[in-house]
Symmetry: C2
Subunit: 271 residues, 2 copies
């Protein structure tokens, strides 16, 4: 195994010859630079709110190219440790006060909006907009709703804001066969528009008994990034929710929120 370019540079940088230059777990240059910047931040050299070295300063201080400085900075941004603004620089973020989105049972208050309740508790003004259209179920949506791929569904996209800052984005699907011709066919229109799934389903005699929520995370898609006001590829938490009656699913949704600005909260009793 011969030394690659990055390893040769490491040798030049640190004056070490064998151990690091030939190690299999050799860290890349941009990782080394990111690690050192992270260490300097955590050591207190750059407190919260302060500016960290610019691209050019990194080039000089670490004797690396522009590409390495850019990638090292992007690592710290992805970790949520710093925030960079064009023309201004990169700044250390304070330990984030995350907006709390509670998922407790008492959210299911008759007639109230869970999101509005959460935001008002935290002193924020809630608002949302929604847009519905009918669509054909994808394989994934069909599986979750227990219907056939291609079956008609009502698809609604919601964007929720707090103090006019985007907080969460949701895409909801309901089997059109269930609600067609009823007053709740359009989730956001009609006399029952804007109410929760439980209340709307009750209108047509469907009793929702439980819900399943599965949480994972990934990089944001372009649409999500735009709606949430975050960078493309920034980390988002994904909550896949399905409402059930005793014997069938009646609604499913993908709820997406910025990973570092929000948290989904569950409080559960222990028997």
């Amino acid at each position: 195994m011969t030394a690659c370019l990055c390893c040769v540079r490491v040798v030049k940088l640190f004056g070490q010859i064998e151990e690091r230059a030939l190690g299999r777990g050799m860290a890349y240059l941009y990782v080394q630079v990111a690690d050192d910047l992270r260490r300097r931040i955590q050591s207190g050299e750059f407190p919260a709110g302060s500016q960290i070295p610019t691209r050019e300063q990194i080039n000089k201080q670490y004797k690396v190219s522009a590409a390495v400085a850019i990638k090292a900075l992007s690592v710290l941004v992805t970790e949520g440790l710093v925030e960079s603004r064009p023309g201004a620089g990169a700044y250390v973020l304070p330990p984030r006060e995350r907006l709390q989105l509670s998922r407790e049972r008492h959210r299911e208050v008759r007639g109230g909006s869970p999101f509005a309740g959460d935001m008002e508790t935290q002193g924020k003004t809630p608002r949302w907009r929604a847009h519905s259209r009918s669509d054909a179920a994808t394989a994934e949506v069909a599986r979750r709703l227990g219907i056939a791929e291609g079956d008609p569904v009502m698809r609604t996209v919601y964007v929720y804001t707090a103090d006019d800052e985007p907080v969460q984005r949701a895409v909801s699907w309901e089997p059109y066969e269930l609600t067609r011709g009823t007053p709740i066919a359009f989730p956001e229109d009609g006399p029952h528009g804007g109410r929760g799934v439980r209340d709307r389903m009750a209108v047509i005699g469907v009793t929702v008994t439980h819900r399943r929520e599965a949480l994972s995370s990934r990089g944001a898609t372009v649409e999500e990034a735009r709606d949430l006001g975050i960078a493309t590829g920034a980390v988002v938490t994904v909550l896949r929710r399905t409402y059930f009656t005793d014997d069938r699913p009646v609604e499913t949704a993908d709820i997406v929120a910025a990973g570092d600005r929000t948290e989904f909260v569950y409080v559960l009793p222990i028997s």
Copy 2:
């Protein structure tokens, strides 16, 4: 507002002049390429498991530079849509079967390990290792445990595996004042080692009544990436859990799992 470089190229590419070249929401070149590749994947042109165009093919097909092809591909990788392997190419990932980590109430079965139950349900062999040491509470841990910063705590790091693949990593803190001198001082040692928090606390007459779990997400730290076998900066889901008696917190933990390989699942009744 004058057209930037990328916009000029867009004009060349699509033969359109005014609308797109001057629009404020103008998409960057790499975003356009990523969008088109995503569209082609979702249209069925590249089914799951198939190879998508190589970087060189992207250069030619879209008439863009290497840097744009690289960044467009990295967007799709971050989104979890494709996986790229050096020397092999980039391949469409099948809809991910995520390992399910259930957070339901019935997990709290006396004497059993919740993780083991989850994994056995999914046909995997569970295993874990743990390491405890006493430590001083950080500001964050002190806040969560309702103690003073610097107070002694027992800190335990767990790494859980399924079929010897790392699945989740947890760092747990207990107030040392609560367990000092009792048989449960070391979570993984003694007659009650390895049992759940509820059962261990019962041994010393402490009744756990509820727990709070807050989920967010971010890029993995270096330690987490090493323990979970993922790339540095890969996305992880973070679950902050605290166990309470009626009047005080008795344990808190940060549970971290790969964002795209696992999901935390809640099933909740609706009153």
